[in-house]
């Protein structure tokens, strides 16, 4: 996530290639196209939604409706390093709210926000499927389990150096 920076032309070419595969396929190809588009851009700005709509032969409203319905799709960019705290039931009862608060305090932004320099963002999610390790956080794609709030500063420090 966000590691290999593409230029906007490169992203645009990649998106065109994805959409060429689904040209005119309509609604049935929408989810897959959006998932791939978000994989390229990291989020789904309006310009991308318009492109997807035009390629598939849908209205922008139909595309926006789907984008805003599913929580996996994001309308806002994320930070280079994304902290995700699982607030699913198992993690929640094991104290993941405290982990979230600790991360918010350390980074200085709230959940769902991005730092001004675009380096970090924090989000909450529902169940990553590792309840046996609860409470769990993800930093980009790395999983940290069985955590206590006092372990948070050490984990954050690892990503600040890098």
């Amino acid at each position: 996530m966000g590691k290999s920076k593409l230029t906007s032309e490169e992203m645009s070419t990649k998106l065109d290639a994805v959409l060429a595969d689904h040209k005119g396929e309509g609604q049935k190809a929408l989810m897959a196209s959006l998932q791939k588009a978000q994989g390229i851009y990291g989020f789904l700005p309006l310009a991308v939604q318009k492109k997807v709509a035009a390629a598939l032969g849908l209205s922008v409203a139909e595309v926006y409706g789907v984008v805003s319905f599913y929580s996996f799709f994001s309308l806002k960019p994320k930070g280079e390093t994304v902290f995700t705290v699982c607030l699913g039931t198992a993690c929640y009862v094991k104290g993941s709210q405290l982990l979230l608060e600790e991360i918010e305090k350390s980074i200085g932004i709230g959940s769902g926000e991005v730092t001004k320099d675009g380096k970090y963002s924090i989000s909450a999610c529902r169940c990553v499927g590792a309840c046996g390790l609860a409470p769990v956080i993800l930093v980009n794609d790395d999983v940290y389990g069985r955590l206590t709030p006092d372990e948070i500063p050490g984990i954050i420090a690892k990503y600040k150096e890098a």
């Binding site: 989810m31 529902r126 046996g132 390790l133 999983v143």
Partner: protein
Amino acid sequence: MELFRAHVLVCCGTGCTSSSSPQIMDRFSELLPTYGLDKEIKIVKTGCFGLCAEGPVVVIYPEGVMYYRVTPEDVDEIVSEHLLKGRYVHRLMTLTAVATADASYSAEDNGFFKKQLRIALRNCGVINPEKIDEYIAHDGYQAIGKILTEKRDPMSIIAEVKSSGLRGRGGGGFPTGSKWEFAAKVQNYTKYVCCNADEGDPGAFMDRSILEGDPHSVIEAMTIAGYCIGAHQGFVYVRAEYPIAVERLSIAIDQAREYGLLGKNIFDSGFDFDLDIRLGAGAFVCGEETALMRSIEGKR
């Protein structure tokens, strides 16, 4: 065929992968040759054993010894003590989270597994889910092979499913045979087989365990369902949050196509069936069947 005196099974389900089982696999692969054991001991990547809270789990056969909460550093001791000298590493053999009065050495005898009879999950944690041959070696694709080569009457299969008492695993426990019968009786429509793997209930991983540990069993079962109701296309709807399940199912579908077990004219019977994966996008409601079908169609 190569023969091995021992097998090291490393759980690579989501729980154990999150607690570093890939590094444990790497450490085994690195160490076995240095002890000259790589020709006699095989490392197998498996699906979930069902003991995620005690993971990463490593099982060593033929003894069936289970090691819990293994770290990559522990691998040195397992190799030099257990695999080389036959001495068990007792400190890694105690269950901590699961209360077991009669915790014993072997996977089959330990109190957690002793009373279990695994039917749907029989292959999970036993075979490598990324190898179709291991599924076939455990009698996989025999059922669909028998049905198609003997040109069995779909209604007779449905009757058999009904009398087996097989039911849905989602909570409602709907009788599978009845569901197939209703679908088979509908005429004049193009039919599809949908597999609901949009598992969103906290702590419940029955769908994911199967997809990660034994994906071919899902493919075979959906093909049988397709034959019975007269469908030629299936969809598996999986949560995007379960990347390992998605990856293993994709591998399995590719392998099945390569072996001619999915696609056109399966087993030379004239029956066509193919499968596609549809990813969820983080909407809990899509686990409900009508919402799931709308989501497969790209709606909200």
